[in-house]
């Protein structure tokens, strides 16, 4: 059996600088990480007045990693049935060592992740980072946002508490307004006509199998595209040639952000543990003030404020149609913003983005205080 150093000497013909270097070389030859290391060594990040927004993607990824780790730990004790779900989460919160911490971090991190996702998406939008050749990076990113919302919607029901139960009943009713497929969609989501234990089991399946599988595939493509295209320079900063190396300068700054996020998460989990509420009772009357999670509030409030009928159409159906068109438009922004694609200023799209952002903030605020 030859030693690694001997193997290294054999393959490179050069003596290894040290044992660490030798081990690195050993791995490089066997895992074929050479091109990755090569890319990391040469990858740079533009430095300009908007550089701070580059950290949001990494921050979201960090929070997603926390979700995966804490989610797996929760799976060790969680039981996805109407009879046991609430009790199992209660057990996690009271009897499992540090179970309260894991669950609280999972819940807080989910909310922070969706918040950073929104900020990341709008920063990319306003910095016009969707310009060619990054159209697919934008589309995969928007898809990841919708998947994250799906994680939020399905995960909200899993503790099987009263608020989540009734909010899910309202939420799963909404797809019903789609013509032809509405009833099918509602029954598909609920696993029947009503929100029952079958819905919980189904949502658990979405949350731990289907959505993670989709995320793995789309996130893989998204990250590969980000690495292969590099960071986009916003219009107006092209003249500034300043850059920093991705490894280690940018990564170290990323780590600082992650440490900060970790501190915030620890403080939130310890000082404001995520509430469990009361166990869902399908036969009880709906509690007052049912509303969805904050990230669905703007759409929920819109549908609530729409009149019952607009011309010949049902108000809610028209609202859903509006959101569907809006989502389609948002996905196709890189192809519609032709000026930005040609490197010209596109104030129109900046205005549209500002209007959408303002709309989301205002409607969310109305939802909170109404």
């Amino acid at each position: 059996m030859k030693s690694t150093i001997e193997l290294e000497q054999e393959t490179t013909g050069q003596p290894a600088a040290s044992r660490t270097e030798a081990a690195r070389q050993w791995l490089r030859h066997r895992l074929g990480t050479g091109p990755v290391e090569e890319m990391a060594a040469h990858k740079t990040v533009p430095v300009h007045r908007h550089t701070i927004w580059y950290y949001l993607g990494g921050m979201t990824l960090f929070l997603f990693t926390i979700q995966v780790v804490t989610g797996i730990l929760l799976l060790l004790y969680y039981r996805p049935s109407a009879e046991e779900a609430f009790e199992s989460v209660q057990f996690i919160m009271t009897d499992v060592s540090f179970g309260w911490l894991i669950r609280s971090i999972h819940s807080w991190s989910a909310n922070l992740m969706i918040a950073t996702l929104f900020v990341h998406m709008f920063s990319v939008f306003f910095l016009k980072a969707y310009r060619p050749p990054r159209e697919m990076t934008w589309i995969t990113g928007v898809l990841l946002l919708f998947i994250a919302l799906g994680f939020g919607f399905s995960g909200y029901l899993l503790p099987w508490n009263k608020l989540a139960f009734f909010a899910t009943r309202v939420g799963t009713e909404i797809p019903r307004v789609f013509p032809l497929v509405g009833d099918f969609l509602m029954r598909f989501l609920r696993g029947g006509d009503e929100v029952t234990g079958a819905t919980l089991t189904r949502f658990f399946g979405f949350h731990v199998a289907i959505l993670p599988a989709l995320t793995t595939a789309i996130l893989g493509v998204h990250l590969w595209l980000v690495q292969s295209h590099g960071m986009s320079r916003p219009p107006g900063t092209e003249q500034n040639g300043k850059e920093m190396k991705f490894v280690p300068n940018f990564i170290l700054r990323d780590i600082m952000g992650w440490l900060l996020a970790l501190g915030i998460l620890a403080a939130l989990a310890a000082l404001f543990p995520w509430e469990l509420g009361e166990k869902a009772d399908p036969f009880a009357s709906a509690p007052a003030g049912i509303r969805p999670e904050w990230f669905f509030l703007f759409s929920f409030e819109t549908l609530k404020l729409l009149p019952g009928h607009i011309w010949f159409f049902e108000g809610e159906a028209l609202g859903i149609l509006g959101f569907t068109i809006g989502i389609g438009f948002w996905l196709l922004v890189p192809f519609l913003d032709r000026k930005a694609a040609r490197g010209l200023p596109s104030a129109g799209f900046t205005l549209i983005g500002a209007a959408v952002l303002l709309y989301i903030i205002v409607m969310t605020a109305i939802g909170f205080w109404s």
Binding site: M93, T94, R253, L260, P273, L276
Partner: protein
């Protein structure tokens, strides 16, 4: 009356009368109360008393298809007043008070007839009525006492379950009070403060303020058709129809025999009859305002037992309060305390149970009950203390974690400074 009828006769000629009057009725009567177009009773009486049609609105008899003739007899299809109200056509007119029970009872005591409308309705109202104080006085010739119509009304009678019915639970006290709270009507035959006292009672509060329709009103203790005051020996039975455990405990208590000997009206000795206050632990003990002090003198065995029972209850209530304070503190700090909350509710159940056992008037039996509650309260208090200790542990853990994170942040910051320092 005669003059009015002649006027009506003039205003309702034999041919045109029914047509015009029925037309008027159709204009002013709501749809539900509309009788048959050819109803000559309605046609003429609406002229005499314009409110009659309105009075009949929602009347249960009318809804079941029984018009004026159903009770008063006669022939409503005949437009001729004399013929319509002829004795030969079964007309009985307005009954005198003494005739009312038979008047209503001819249908309501007839099982075969009532089955056609409501097979579940009882048919013993008249039989019960004759046993009531009202019924007995009526049979003695007192025409001022209450009969069926005094409580149910004559026209516009609604089912008991209808909120506008005079005998709907929320309206019963007012209906009875119409006579029983009127000194000029009662003429010193009975006191007239019962309704006023009842309005201040725990029962009235439950019924009127909390809308708890299961809470008792006059008829629940006195009976409805057979209304009479419960006898001294039957009070515990009357109260016991709802307060079953208390009655059971009382029967096993030493007070049962002694009250019987003394001719005391059981429950009422401590709780009064109409103005039944919300019971409190202060009722127990050897000193005022405890009700025990009304009979027992300080130092006698009963008074000693009362003090001991009072201490047991106070001890359990105090222990539960302490436990609740701790649990609430932990809950406000965001701790998961649902099990402790469940324990607390079990503890309060034990306290309620102990308050029921008071009616056994045995310090030993009560202590056994409060001891059970004390054990639950102590466990709950421990859970609250554990939650607060856990909270402290979490805060210390957070401080330590934040310190480590801060050190790591500083280290990374200096590392960045080091690698970005311009090389000389």
């Amino acid at each position: 009356m005669r003059r009015d009828r002649s006027q009506v006769r003039k205003s309702c000629p034999k041919v045109l009368g029914p047509v015009i009057c029925v037309g008027l009725l159709a204009l002013f009567s709501p749809v539900s109360a509309q009788p048959k177009a050819a109803d000559s009773c309605v046609a003429c009486h609406n002229e005499l008393d314009e409110g009659l049609a309105r009075q009949m609105e929602g009347d249960v008899h009318l809804q079941k298809g029984l018009g004026c003739v159903g009770c008063h007899g006669g022939d409503a299809s005949n437009a001729d007043q004399e013929l319509a109200m002829a004795r030969a056509s079964g007309f009985v007119g307005q009954p005198k008070p003494g005739q009312v029970p038979d008047f209503c009872g001819k249908c309501h005591s007839n099982a075969g007839f009532m089955k056609r409308f409501n097979p579940a309705l009882r048919i013993d109202q008249q039989a019960e009525y004759v046993t009531s104080v009202h019924g007995k006085l009526l049979s003695q010739g007192d025409q001022t006492v209450a009969t069926c119509v005094s409580c149910h009304g004559s026209h516009g009678i609604r089912p008991v379950s209808h909120p506008q019915s005079r005998v709907y639970p929320l309206n019963v006290a007012g209906t009875c009070g119409k006579c029983h709270a009127d000194p000029s009507y009662m003429k010193s035959r009975l006191p007239t403060d019962q309704v006023a006292h009842y309005q201040k009672s725990v029962h009235a509060e439950a019924l009127m303020k909390k809308n708890d329709l299961s809470a008792p009103t006059c008829n629940d203790c006195h009976g409805n058709h057979g209304a009479s005051p419960p006898g001294v020996s039957s009070v515990a039975n009357v109260c016991g129809t709802c307060h079953t455990r208390q009655a059971e405990m009382f029967r096993q208590s030493p007070h049962n025999a002694s009250f019987e000997q003394l001719g005391q009206a059981e429950c009422l000795v401590c709780h009064e009859n109409h103005q039944i206050d919300s019971p409190s632990d202060r009722m127990l003990g050897s000193k005022e305002p405890a009700t025990c002090a009304g009979c027992h003198s300080e130092g006698d065995p009963g008074s000693t037992a009362a003090d001991s029972m009072s201490r047991s209850l106070a001890g359990l209530a105090g222990q539960l309060r302490e436990a609740e304070k701790l649990v609430a503190r932990a809950e406000r700090a965001g701790m998961e305390v649902s099990r402790a909350r469940f324990g607390l509710s079990e503890g309060y159940d034990a306290l309620v149970g102990a308050r029921v056992v008071v009616h056994r008037f045995s310090a030993g039996h009560l202590k056994a009950e409060t001891d059970r509650g004390m054990a639950i309260a102590r466990t709950t208090q421990q859970q609250g203390e554990q939650a607060l200790a856990e909270l402290q542990f979490r805060r210390k853990g957070l401080a330590a974690s934040l310190l480590v994170i801060a050190l790591a942040l500083v280290a990374v910051y200096f590392k960045i400074q080091q690698i970005e320092r311009p090389k000389e």
